[in-house]
């Protein structure tokens, strides 16, 4: 019995002394889903993060004042849940004494993480959408991925101008936090353009067969079907089922990032689908950095990268610039300089902005990429650089 | 009818049907206070069914059962137990994973909430049944004889007015049978318990019972004192006709 208590005490001591001697390396936290259905996003993003710090470390590390830091990542599985996110955050903040989390995924995990990081004054980067994670209540949170408020206006405008005859739209989204978020935004933006939203449906993530949903959506015979945040492999089945049931209208997958998967499952029915987050990192619009990374990913991960998984590259790039400019590793100091920066992201020069939408300039200014399936391949149509970024450059 | 003179229990034309099969057909009898009544009959005569009807495990299809002047045909078993009608089981008659003490405790608790009084009641039960030496044994580890006695102890813990015993002496040797009979007699003498007993050991039944009911093919064939029953030609016929 005494041995047991000793053991517990020893474990406690071991844990609390573990975070010392971090003089030359700066630890960056990663909170990704490494198990469950979203695991491949987490696995791939962790790989990108490693590539990003490798490149920085090889070129001499980060100069902060008169010290040089090497970067290191510490990753935890947030299991796509709030409890998982909280456990991961507590491990990073309390055990590993990490003050910068370079990327985090899954809305509920991130909300749980924020509760801890904002109070601890730690810096948090994330790609999740919700307006609720952004803004003045979360000054230490920065986002590194385009979200519906940035994507939808230019994407819908593009579709509207290309197909002026279309008047009605049906929305379909997964029944979860990100799906509800995007549906809300989509209704506003479509109605702004004079569209009628004829249906706004949600499906359980566990849905296996999309035939009933297709039947339901087609009952209103919409001109446009916008599958919003539906995972693209599923979206392929939705479109396939609709084609079978005789529908041939305008297809939009506004916020799905794994465009290739839609072609695989949709087959011919995927043809002409528009994407708002479906960058092609092997295409001619991509930057050299993106092409190079994507090629490595195809070899090492056997999968292409997408905008959600490459995002951590950009937050690490922003961090490096901010650390050097602030001359300090203090998260508050970094948070102060981040909005003033122009740094080199994987998309080219980038910064932070969108204070007009969120009340704080903490959203990364990235090009909105409109792409489309043409002849069984995803083709980028346009990379629209935000006006705010143009004025910064 | 004043409480003292009315029968303790009465079955009034009870019938039990399982699907198409009539297991018990229009049986009526009474059990008087303080008597020890035997229920006999060849295998398949309906003894178990009657037993289960009396103790509330089965619902009667027709007829009714009356206990202490109250119609109890539709009462659940646990309520019957609480108003003083208890039974034992032929098979698996114990809480095998629990100690002897806990077996008796569980049974006693339902009737006496006060811990001190409960202790008193329990030691009384243990004394009569002679289980004092095996109190902390797991019931499943007891020798067979003790197990049967313990099952009587469980049923008797509530000090029922009517105690129904289902083949309590099965597997006993001669000495054990005598011991068992002695305990049953003491229950009547010291606690005025009325007893209904189903038992295959004819000699034991004949020596113990005041009166005997004979069942055959789900019907009441006859009843009377042990001597009367033993000399009734119809009954002999039913029994001997079978065995030959």
């Amino acid at each position: 019995m005494n041995k047991f208590i000793l053991g517990v005490a020893a474990a406690a001591l071991g844990l609390s002394t573990q975070f010392a001697n971090a003089e030359e390396t700066l630890k960056l936290g990663l909170s990704h889903a490494l198990s469950g259905p979203a695991a491949y996003f987490g696995t791939n993003a962790s790989w990108v993060a490693q590539k990003a710090i490798d490149r920085i470390n090889e070129s001499g590390g980060v100069k902060v004042g008169d010290k040089v830091y090497k970067l290191e990542t510490v990753g935890y599985d947030n299991q796509y849940t709030a409890a998982g996110g909280a456990t991961a955050a507590q491990n990073m903040i309390l055990r590993d004494n990490i003050r910068i989390i370079a990327n985090s995924q899954s809305t509920s995990a991130v909300i749980a993480t924020q509760a801890i990081t904002e109070r601890a004054g730690a810096l948090l980067f994330t790609g999740v959408w919700g307006r609720s994670v952004k803004g003045p209540e979360h000054p230490m949170t920065f986002t590194n991925l385009n979200s519906p408020p940035e994507i939808l206006p230019p994407l819908y405008k593009y579709v509207h101008e290309t197909h002026p005859e279309a008047k009605t739209v049906a929305l379909l989204n997964p029944n979860d936090a990100s799906g509800q978020e995007i549906a809300k935004e989509a209704v506003i933006q479509w109605e702004k353009l004079g569209f009628t939203v004829v249906s706004n449906d949600f499906f359980e993530r566990s849905t296996a067969d999309f035939a009933p949903i297709a039947t339901r959506i087609l009952a209103n015979n919409p001109d446009v079907v916008d599958v919003g945040g539906t995972p693209l492999p599923n979206a392929g089945h939705v479109f396939g089922e609709m084609a079978t049931q005789g529908w041939d209208g305008i297809k939009i997958a506004s916020a799905g990032s794994e465009a290739e998967a839609l072609i695989k499952t949709g087959g011919d029915a995927a043809e002409n689908t528009y994407f708002g987050l479906g960058a092609v990192f092997s295409g001619e619009n991509a930057t050299d950095t993106q092409r190079e990374l994507n090629e490595m990913a195809l070899v090492e991960l056997k999968q292409p990268l997408n905008q959600a998984t490459i995002a951590v590259w950009d937050s690490i790039a922003a961090l490096k610039a901010a650390l050097e400019k602030a001359g300090s590793t203090d998260p508050e100091a970094i948070a102060e300089v981040l909005p003033t920066l122009v740094f080199e992201s994987s998309y080219g020069p980038s910064g932070f902005g969108y204070a007009d939408i969120y009340g704080l300039p903490n959203q990364m200014l990235l090009p909105v990429i409109i792409s489309q399936v043409q002849d069984g391949k995803v083709v980028e149509l346009e990379r629209i650089i935000p006006e705010e970024m143009k004025s910064k450059m | 009818m004043p409480a003292e003179t009315q029968p303790l229990f009465a079955a009034e034309g009870i019938t039990k049907r399982f699907g198409g099969l009539v297991a018990v057909s229009d049986v009526s009898f009474e059990i008087s206070r303080g008597e020890i009544l035997g229920l006999i009959g060849p295998n398949g005569a309906g003894k178990s069914t009657i037993f289960n009807l009396i103790s509330g495990f089965y619902r009667v299809t027709r007829g009714r059962t009356v206990f202490q002047g109250q119609d109890v045909s539709s009462l659940p078993i646990w309520k019957l137990a609480r108003i003083g009608l208890a039974r034992t089981f032929q098979h698996d008659s114990l809480l095998k994973g629990m100690t002897v003490r806990d077996n008796i405790l569980v049974a006693t608790t339902q009737f006496i909430r006060n811990p001190a009084e409960r202790e008193k009641r329990m030691s009384e039960t243990i004394d009569i049944m002679g289980l004092g030496e095996v109190l902390d044994e797991k019931a499943s580890n007891l020798p067979h004889g003790h197990q049967r006695i313990l099952s009587i102890a469980i049923a008797f813990s509530g000090r029922p007015a009517l105690l129904c015993l289902d083949e309590p002496l099965t597997g006993f040797n001669q000495t054990e049978v005598l011991g068992g009979l002695d305990i049953i007699r003491r229950l009547r003498e010291e606690f005025a318990t009325t007893v209904l007993i189903v038992e295959h050991n004819m000699r034991a039944v004949m020596s113990l019972c005041d009166r005997i009911l004979v069942l055959h093919h789900g019907k009441l064939l006859g009843s009377g004192s042990p001597e009367e029953v033993q000399n009734d030609p119809a009954i002999i016929e039913a029994y001997l006709g079978k065995s030959e």
Partner: protein, 312 residues
Amino acid sequence: MLFDKLNLLFLATVAASVAYCLAVPGAFFVQVILWATLAATLGAGIRFVMLVGELNIGTSAFYGIGGYTAAYLTTAYGLPFGVALVAAGIAGGLVAAVFGYATMRTSGAYFMLISFAFAEIFRMLVVESDFLGGNNGIIGLFVSVEYEPYFAATVVAILATLISALAVIENSSLGKSFIAIREREEIARSVGINVLAIRVLCLVISSVVIAVAGACSGFITHLVTPNDYTFMIAVFALAYVKLGGEEHPTGPILGAILLTLAAQYLISFGAYQQVFFGTVIAVAMILLPQGITGRLRDLVRLTAKRTARDAG
């Protein structure tokens, strides 16, 4: 003998944990203690219903009911944490009474599957309830700043008390009735036990405790979301029981502590954490069918027998 020692060990662990939580309130290990305490309560709660012989996968729903009740009352009405805890317990008990009255007539595989269904219904209902925040859940659960240093110690103390209360009930005559029902329901009935009522009572008691633990869980993660209360909660609770051993109340506590500590070291292994848990459960079922405490007891008995034989 062994079990008496285990009881002492439990009390000592609780005392040490409370002391540590008070001494170093912000430390990481305090979080570990809190996770372990929640886990132990879940294990003790699910084991309690096993006393009447049923596997209650709905444990996760009662955990969630507690979590959501406390979260809703504190955020929507500004009630203090203590009041919310009590309310969570009451809510858990009331729902358990209704659910139990309807379902405790079934047993075995059927009860297990329907409790499974209940766990899923609860999650889906929460997702569909806008006033509970739908998929986003309820965010921002904090105790007041001045109370914060005592929060962890209080949670450990309260839950340890509830776990002890479960053990006391188990040893009382009521607890013996539970076991009697599991052993042989007909005998229980024949001695006057209202089996349905007692089975429901058992579920209610367990659910009150589970719901209070759930209420604490929200304040540890600072939010509640539907995905934190899936049936996996019950799966892990069962793992604690099976690893620690179900015969004695300290079994699930031991299992919970071991697996929580293991999880802290495994969390950086990503998906292998899941594989590890799965393997522990499967291997423990094969090698330690009675759990660690059961194995220990057998060993102690064996040694005692050997010594007796050698002496004799």
